[in-house]
């Protein structure tokens, strides 16, 4: 009987080393919750600005066309939205990093190892590609695909990441991709799709991961 337990332990050891050597497992569920909350706050501010602008411009407003950007003080709206987006991104990144850093301290794994590096590269490549692509669209006056584009490219980045961290991230990725694709046909509601994907999905995912691995 003890012999059997010994072998079970051995198999557990093997499994654990295979996991730990190939995946970055310090990623904290709290990071997901924090990033999702930032996204919700950001989306609320952005929606507030868009609504205020809508009231000013009246019936000529076409949220889905992005025409407002060039009219009157539309440029101001664009700058405001851009600023909100930038602040949201950095706040989310900072908080996500902090929680993951704390977790890596707790589990005693180095934050910057081979697995972390691999994860970073695999997230950054699709993210930066998507970012440049969307900026080029915006520069050419195509605004309506910004939100679905964010969801789709970020979804692909997460899909890539799922091979190098907890495999459950793949569900987050599929949800984001599906949401992004649906969003392509309903661009007038982009801000809600964006808030749902970046806000709610992250919070749900983060909570589930925290529940499963860190509680």
């Amino acid at each position: 009987m003890t012999d059997q337990n010994h072998h079970l332990d051995t198999l557990q050891d093997i499994k654990q080393i295979m996991e730990r050597s190939s995946r970055f497992i310090s990623l904290s569920g709290l990071s997901g919750i924090a990033a999702g909350s930032c996204a919700l706050v950001g989306a609320w501010f952005a929606n507030d600005r868009i609504m205020a602008y809508k009231l000013e411009t009246g019936p000529n407003f076409h949220a889905d066309r992005g025409e407002y950007i060039f009219k009157d003080n539309g440029n101001l709206l664009f700058n405001q939205l851009f600023l909100i987006a930038a602040i949201t991104f950095f706040a989310a990144f900072f908080l996500a990093f902090t929680f993951t850093y704390l977790r890596s301290r707790k589990t005693n794994t180095p934050i910057w190892g081979t697995t972390a590096r691999r994860l970073m590269i695999n997230v950054i490549v699709p993210m930066v590609t998507g970012g440049i692509f969307l900026l080029a669209l915006i520069k050419n006056g195509v605004y309506e695909f910004t939100a679905p584009g964010c969801l789709v490219f970020y979804g692909l980045a997460v899909l890539n990441a799922s091979k190098y961290t907890f495999s459950e991230t793949v569900y987050l990725s599929y949800s984001l991709l599906l949401l992004g694709i649906i969003n392509l046909w309903f661009t007038e509601y982009s801000i809600y799709f964006w808030a749902l994907g970046f806000g709610l999905f992250h919070i749900v995912y983060g909570t589930a991961m925290w529940w499963k691995h860190e509680r």
């Binding site: 059997q4 072998h7 050891d13 080393i17 050597s21 081979t114």
Partner: protein, 99 residues
């Protein structure tokens, strides 16, 4: 009845060696320092186990440089992967037959 122990490989009869092989099964190559981190052993201990597995032809060594610092990485050979899989299957058999 067949003796299940006959397939257990004596070469993998230590926590360090099991750890080494496990890490090398899922990664194409792993550096000495990463292995040390993963398995939590001393340099000397790790080196001696690596040497033993290398002599059995289960792992191979690549010596390289990052700048001027030496960077030695290890990977499993085909024979090593096969032997380790057989070993795992034997372990599985033992657990099953003990039930």
């Amino acid at each position: 009845m067949k003796n299940p122990i006959e397939n257990l490989n004596k070469n993998f009869d230590s926590r360090v060696r099991l750890g080494l092989m496990s890490a090398l099964m899922v990664n194409t190559e792993v550096s000495f320092n990463d292995l040390k981190e993963l398995i939590q052993v001393t340099d000397g201990n790790l080196a001696s186990h690596i040497k033993a597995l290398e002599e059995s032809g289960y792992i191979k060594v690549q010596k390289g440089f990052i700048g001027r610092k030496t960077n030695t990485t290890y990977s499993a050979t085909g024979a090593g992967e096969k032997a380790f899989k057989t070993h795992l299957e034997a372990l599985e058999e033992m657990i099953k037959s003990a039930k």
